[in-house]
Symmetry: C2
Subunit: 242 residues, 2 copies
DNA sequence: CGCGTCTTTGAGCTGCCTCAATTCCGGTGG
DNA sequence: CCACCGGAATTGAGGCAGCTCAAAGACGCG
């Protein structure tokens, strides 16, 4: 396994060795040489909760892979009403190919670490490595599927169903096994009540009331406001109307 | 392959000559030879309003280009609540690459004509023509942008703003010049009130009341329930909060 | 002319929002 | 160790936007 392929430049960069993006993310499209080339231009970046990563209608010069943490993508109306239109978990790709301006805000929801590289490096590599575009297409289709699923939640579900859907979404993203397994799932919520409200198209008060109701009904347990335990995910799914 | 066509095999197929998808759609990626190859497997299909083109969780064997008309993409909850998650206009591409099952319903909203071809033909060509994947990525990114825009509408806008946003969306899709021009725009609504309600996450009564309000306020004119005239698109945009 | 479908309009209800007060909790300093 | 502070979350009371239910028009078609 660790047979030291060889001592040449085809060694995988240290930064990439443990990176999820190399397996499930876009970097999986690259061979060791290409990985080395890209890693020379890439840098790791850490952001604190609330820190803006990409501003709306701002020029975008960097793309990133999310290495850990959660990034919220949001849109705002002129009068301040806000809607979160997507959450990015590791190893999602952050950036909009073929456009120089972002149409949305990207803000760290939790402490986040990113692997960033200049947009130009990707633009160049896309031309040489068709597999890279293939990965980007797959990632984009996944995000489109998720966006459309969420549109159903936003447009047609009740507040109770929305909150249950949100707790379920986070559970399945943090622990992909969760949906099949019958055992309990536990996690720390990556979002504040205000964020959850912005994701669900509700107010914080309504979110709070529905969480309380789920807790009193024994569907979830809550500790320290943030830590959620779901004893029976099937029960939560029924509440979410999935 | 028959000899006669081989002689002139670089001629563009008749079906493709006037097709928008050759310019703005995915077929723009293909050279005349490839166009001929694909067109041998493709067929034109006409559908009437209400006709189901792709069923939810149905096996998908065909992809299509929309040549004319409007297709609605929708999702339904187990209890019948429905949400339209996208509208496809010419020359949009209809189909979900890399998945054999559809996660949504596609239904003709108006009379629709399609250029259909087997999924397998595309799957094969994608491997030979990287540019095809490039086009698919662009189309998917466009749809993702639109889906996210609409999430803001669904989650955070009032009923009045939603209806105005819808009328604006149709105006700009049917006449791409509409948004810049100051002149009046007119079109036939491709959707019934029930469809509009399902697109906006409202009831038909609320849609009807808001349309009446816009009409009484002089923002739009309505003839025969379906024909809409927008004297001043800027005025509509203000109502939509764009 | 009568029937079915789509749309409009009206009247009352309710789920979520708004506004306001209180509690919880982590951090900080005495 | 406790008192205090500020931000986040909860809880309560009342209002209203949009839903539900019901009825009546508008229009196309046999």
């Amino acid at each position: 396994m660790n047979a030291r392929q060889d001592i040449h430049n085809s060694d995988i960069p240290v930064l990439c060795q443990a990176c999820e993006a190399r397996h499930r993310g876009v970097c999986g499209a690259l061979n060791p040489d290409q990985l080395v080339a890209l890693s020379k231009q890439s840098f790791k970046y850490r952001a604190e909760p609330g820190e803006e990563l990409v501003g709306d209608s701002e020029k975008v010069v960097n793309f990133s892979n999310v290495l850990s943490g959660v990034v919220k993508l949001s849109k705002v109306l002129s009068d301040g009403r806000q809607q979160i239109v997507g959450l990015q978990f590791a190893p999602d790709f952050l950036g909009r190919p073929f456009k120089t301006e972002s149409a949305l805000n990207a803000v760290a929801a939790t402490p986040v670490s990113l692997c960033s590289f200049p947009k130009s490096a990707i633009d160049r590599m896309v031309k040489e490595v068709p597999e890279l575009e293939h990965r980007l297409l797959k990632q984009t289709l996944k995000e489109l599927d998720e966006a459309r699923d969420w549109m159903l939640t936003l447009g047609r579900k009740t507040a109770a169903e929305k909150v249950a859907s949100f707790l379920h979404l986070v559970a399945t993203h943090i622990d992909p096994e969760a949906s099949m397994g019958s055992g309990p799932v536990a996690y720390d919520l990556p979002l504040t009540r205000a964020d959850i409200a912005d994701f669900l198209g509700l107010t914080i008060e309504t979110v709070s009331r529905q969480m309380t109701k789920l807790r009193k009904d024994g569907v979830i347990e809550i500790e320290h406001n943030r830590h959620i335990t779901i004893p029976d995910i099937g029960r939560l799914e029924r509440r979410a109307n999935i």
